[in-house]
């Protein structure tokens, strides 16, 4: 075969694939197997690992801190996902209009997406400052006395959710925009000739034909929200942290603060199982509401 002179075919395959495959085995596949094994051990990095069977899973089942974090993560998901999807859909509809300067708006909406979570977290800590922050100032203008936000365990999670919607809005909007631009123009023309008004066109053409994008956005944001971490880790003040603990935060605490490697690995597998199941269920039920054609 051409191109194989000098070095054999397998030599070339090895040349192109070896660096990547070796890395994948050592740094991804190996750790996955190792992590699965860790779930059966009690290990603090210093003394010898002790085999304890399913004790980690038993302990997790009764771990109040973990279930509180689970509950916070679910609250986050229930409030964050509908807000960000609806707002992004409306924003995308606006940006899809033939308005002058819409490229500038898109540029602006995407800035928080490229900014690191650490920077966003510290900026919004200041914006949510109860006494001198912007949020409570603007609330005071309309006569509302703003809460203590990140200082109060009862409100910290809401501040985190608002910040997350703000950061991810541009990301989901751009996804919806791509979906909108994929809807064939002649559907709208045909509907206009039939006398359909704006609302009917939106309801009968845009929304159904956008469901594949909505489905994709929903899957992605669910997977990402189960793994919510940086904002919940960095934003709340010390006393408010207990009101905003999340699953990944528990994993990080157990692994790197209490050095409980086996227990942390167990948590990570439970999280994976939850994400995997929910994604699978969504794929199973997608034909109930996702339209690939009218």
């Amino acid at each position: 075969m051409a191109g194989n002179r000098g070095i054999t075919k397998w030599g070339w395959v090895a040349f192109f694939l070896a660096p990547s495959l070796l890395g994948l085995i050592v740094f991804i596949l190996g750790p996955v197997v190792y992590s699965l094994r860790l779930t059966l051990y009690d290990w603090n990095l210093l003394s010898d690992a002790k085999f304890i069977g399913l004790d980690n899973f038993r302990e997790l089942y009764h771990d109040a801190a973990f279930w509180t974090a689970f509950e916070h993560t679910l609250t986050f998901i229930v409030l964050y996902i509908p807000s960000v999807l609806v707002l992004a859909f409306l924003t995308a509809l606006l940006l899809d209009q033939p308005l002058r300067g819409r490229a500038w708006f898109r540029t602006a909406f995407f800035v928080p997406v490229v900014t690191s979570w650490v920077a966003v977290a510290v900026i919004w800590k200041w914006v949510f400052n109860p006494a001198y922050g912007l949020v409570n100032y603007f609330l005071s203008l309309v006569g509302i006395e703003g809460p203590a936000w990140l200082i109060d365990p009862d409100t910290a999670l809401y501040a985190i959710i608002i910040t997350s919607v703000w950061k991810d809005l541009g990301f989901i909007t751009v996804m919806f925009l791509a979906g909108l631009q994929g809807i064939p123009e002649n559907y709208y023309e045909a509907a206009k000739i039939d006398g359909a008004n704006r609302w009917q066109r939106l309801h009968r053409i845009t929304v159904p034909l956008l469901t594949p994008t909505t489905f994709f956005a929903l899957i992605i944001s669910l997977i990402n929200s189960f793994q919510v971490f940086e904002q919940a880790w960095l934003m709340p003040e010390r006393f408010a942290r207990r009101g905003a603990s999340v699953i990944v935060g528990e994993i990080v605490d157990n692994a790197f603060r209490y050095n409980r490697m086996g227990y942390a690995a167990t948590m990570s597998w439970v999280l994976f199982a939850v994400i995997f199941t929910i994604t699978l269920v969504q794929f199973r039920f997608q034909n109930r509401w996702v339209h690939y054609d009218l």
Partner: protein
């Protein structure tokens, strides 16, 4: 839906006439649309303006009942305090070094593997590729604990190699580039082979130059992910010599107190320094940022 479907099918054969397509909305509606967009843009950008403005204030000028967007007096105090407290040039260098080397490595390894998966025929290829795809489903939290144990075992904690090497291998890049390589016509390669080129020359001189959009998308995506990374550097780069900007900024926000109150001007100065490079990169390569983020579905 059914009636709609019928009429749609009938009219689908209508010729596309751009001049009748989606004409502008009525004037009042357009004004309302602009108003909403402007308010949204303000909500998106004002926190950044507020950040820059705060970074140029003095500590005593922070506690104002009405927000002051123009610092009065404007001062570089915050930046001075910041550079007294941490080695800013070192942090910037570390972030750039880790990001540039990591991105280059990721893209090269991914491109090579993608070539083997798309332009060569060999036994077991699809099985191995499936293995790559399977790793995309594993959340980072599952891998990060054993990775840390491995890095610690190798004595790589607080080293550049510990920061960079584990992040070099991800299947996402292989997947993205393979898709792009598959679209190239085979004739081009054949012509090069006839001229006596070997596999590597073809890969380097023919395949890569023809796949610039996919390579740019992946490069920008990796650049952004590495520049903004927090979780992994938090565990393996705690020493100042190898620390990157996000970890330093998080530490700063957690420790920056002056007589009991947070020095927000200093923290915001740190935020400005962390954001500025990626923001400039974004403004110059906007298209690729948008593509990279939307293709992957993974946020920064």
């Amino acid at each position: 839906m059914n009636e709609a479907r019928k009429t749609m099918t009938l009219d689908r054969s209508l010729p596309r006439e751009p001049w009748v397509a989606r004409r502008g909305a009525p004037l009042a509606l357009q004004a309302a649309q602009y108003a909403v967009l402007i308010v949204l843009a303000l909500i998106m950008l004002v926190p950044f303006v507020w950040t820059v403005s705060t970074s140029f204030k003095e500590q005593s000028g922070l506690a104002t009942a009405t927000p002051q967007f123009i610092p009065d007096p404007a001062s570089l105090d915050a930046y001075r305090t910041l550079s007294d407290r941490m080695d800013i040039p070192r942090l910037i260098f570390n972030s750039f070094f880790v990001t540039v080397v990591g991105t280059a490595g990721q893209v090269i390894f991914a491109a090579m593997a993608a070539y083997a998966f798309s332009r060569m025929v060999w036994r077991g290829r699809d099985t191995v590729f499936l293995l790559y795809l399977a790793t995309l489903m594993i959340p980072v939290q599952v891998i990060i604990i054993p990775q840390f144990i491995l890095i610690r075992h190798l004595g790589w904690v607080n080293t550049y190699q510990g920061l960079i090497i584990p992040s070099l291998f991800n299947a996402f890049g292989v997947f993205l580039l393979r898709q792009s390589f598959l679209t190239l016509p085979r004739d081009l390669e054949e012509a090069a082979f006839i001229d006596g080129a070997n596999r590597f020359t073809v890969f380097w001189r023919v395949v890569l130059p023809l796949s610039k959009p996919a390579l740019a998308t992946l490069t920008v995506f990796n650049f952004m992910a590495l520049w903004n990374a927090y979780l992994w550097p938090l565990f393996v780069a705690r020493k100042a010599e190898v620390m990157t900007l996000p970890v330093a900024l998080a530490n700063l926000a957690g420790s920056s107190r002056y007589q009991g109150s947070v020095e927000w001007n200093v923290v915001m100065a740190g935020a400005v320094i962390t954001i500025l490079p990626i923001l400039i990169a974004y403004l110059f390569a906007q298209k690729w940022f948008v593509r990279g983020v939307t293709f992957s579905g993974i946020k920064g």
